[in-house]
């Protein structure tokens, strides 16, 4: 599989996915 960080779009999409994942982890932990 190609490393998503090799392309700018792969990097940005990875960052967005990570944002959503961390957001829901923190939101769940705060409840």
């Amino acid at each position: 599989m190609k490393n998503p960080l090799d392309t700018l779009w792969g990097t940005v999409i990875s960052g967005l996915v990570l944002t959503f994942v961390l957001f829901y982890i923190v939101k769940f932990a705060m409840q």
Partner: protein, 166 residues
Amino acid sequence: MEFLQLGIGRWLHVVAGVMWIGLLYYFNFVQVPALAAAAKDNTGAGITKHVAPRALFWFRWGAVATWVFGAVILGQHFLEAFLFLKPAYYPIGVGAWLGTIMFFNVWVLIWPNQKKILGMVQASDEEKAKSRRIAFLASRTNTMLSIPLLFFMTASGGLFRTAVWG
């Protein structure tokens, strides 16, 4: 004291952060594609000689200033944020950890390898090729991490505060 810590401290944190992340985006969105294009007609020497060293100077010291002023803002709550001791500090704790990982990448992975790539430190062609890959991936990792970083920096004062205190 609070004005210095939360007013001036936050202002300088944002100024330094714009410098750091602005140059990170410059490297990833402008310089890397520009050097790839310049390699085709051999016109990249000016960028690597005159632009990259200056950009890297402000980039790495911007990272230092951003981290230091971030720590100043956290102040007495530094450990509560970093060790996730209180739920209210979870969002900024995540932001602080992302910023710290990025700071580590700048000083431990990007800068030492860039010195080899730019010829500031002696390195063989093989070492340079390896350094190029490490610095590239560390820089791309920081670009990826900057997206949740900026979310948690801004959301900790907005979205999450509303979620916790209404």
